[in-house]
């Protein structure tokens, strides 16, 4: 078993997942013996601990049909799902930004129209003679 698989196996284990969720509620619970100067392996482990915590939570909420327990059990399928999830969120974020931009343009047009009809000014400068 490769080091990567070993770390992930530990991170998705019930023991560490429970420990992790308890540590979020109770500050006294420590995951490691050391509290600072974490090794690269420990940081990598924390990365997967968080990732699996998120996946288990999404699985419980049935947020996505493509996520199942079998997916979490299988490292390759987990990688695949996370890549898809990242792209999906990326797509949703871009779509959200596009919609925001569109709203901005629409608002600007609306303001322009109002301005040309003499309803609204674009700036606060008062050009009247003193």
């Amino acid at each position: 078993m490769q080091i990567d698989d070993k770390i992930r196996q530990l991170a998705k284990s019930a023991y560490y997942q429970n420990l992790f969720s308890m540590s979020k509620k109770c500050a006294n619970i420590q995951i490691f013996d050391n509290v600072s100067n974490f090794s690269g392996l420990q940081i990598y482990f924390l990365h997967w601990l968080t990732a699996y915590d998120m996946l288990y939570e999404e699985l419980a909420k049935h947020e996505d049909d493509l996520l199942s327990e079998d997916v979490i059990k299988d490292n390759y399928r987990t990688d695949a799902y996370l890549a898809y999830r990242h792209k999906k969120h990326d797509y949703l974020w871009k779509q959200h930004r596009r919609e925001e931009k569109l709203r901005e343009i629409q608002d600007r047009h609306k303001n322009k129209k109002n301005f040309s009809e003499g309803k609204q000014s674009f700036c606060n400068v008062d050009f009247r003679r003193e």
Binding site: N37, S68, A80, Y81
Partner: protein
């Protein structure tokens, strides 16, 4: 330090430790070689600063030598004199990474019941990964003489020299004892041609994971 230990032996030793369930318990890694227990510890701030100084010193020393080259120039020479295109190797690596991403997205859409399709994709990914690894290793081999790479090697060697300890039992067979440094200083580490010098280097880089 000449490479007198076979790569297989070193990898075998590293593989043994990978099965250690205590991998993440603390910032140390315990491993056994030739019947002795060793410990690689995470370097502290002082050791990291010293290692950076060693790295910088080596970098400047190599810069002043005639037969050395920085990575950028090495890439240029490799292309001009030997026809080896490192940049196109990187492009190939990027292309494979994109293919792996598409493979992942494809797999993510498969249902649990589509076992055959998932296995086919898994196999395809393994092929892509192996292809990528081959190019990465080839590229690393070509760039190994670069000043940057050689200075970075010194950095890790220095850290290995000051972060590897061996267990000295009070009496033979006793579990009581203490952890003592394997090498008194960096020079002593550099003179050591035994297997432990290479295994310890591998253990430390594993532990640090380039952090």
């Amino acid at each position: 330090m000449e490479n007198q230990t076979s790569m297989e032996e070193v990898l075998e030793e590293l593989e043994k430790d990978i099965l250690n369930p205590e991998l993440i318990k603390d910032n140390k890694s315990i491993f056994k070689t030739d019947g002795k227990s060793y410990q690689a510890t995470m370097p502290n701030q002082k050791e990291l600063t010293d290692a950076t100084n060693i790295h910088n010193k080596e970098f400047i020393k190599l810069l002043q030598q005639d037969d050395t080259m920085v990575e950028k120039n090495l890439i240029k020479i490799l292309k001009e004199k030997q026809g080896i295109d490192v940049k196109s190797m990187q492009e190939e690596i990027d292309k494979i990474e994109k293919e792996i991403l598409f493979n992942h997205i494809d797999c993510a859409h498969k249902k649990d019941t589509e076992k055959k399709a998932i296995e086919d994709l898994r196999q395809k990914k393994e092929e892509l990964k192996n292809k990528r690894l081959k190019i990465v290793l080839e590229k690393a081999g070509f760039l190994a003489p670069a000043i940057e790479v050689r200075a970075k090697d010194e950095y890790y060697k220095y850290l290995t020299s000051c972060c590897t300890k061996v267990f000295k039992a009070k009496e033979e067979g006793s579990s009581e004892g203490e952890w003592v440094l394997v090498w008194k200083n960096y020079d002593e580490y550099c003179k050591d041609n035994s297997k432990i010098a290479y295994v310890a280097l591998g253990e430390l880089t594993n532990l640090m994971m380039n952090i």
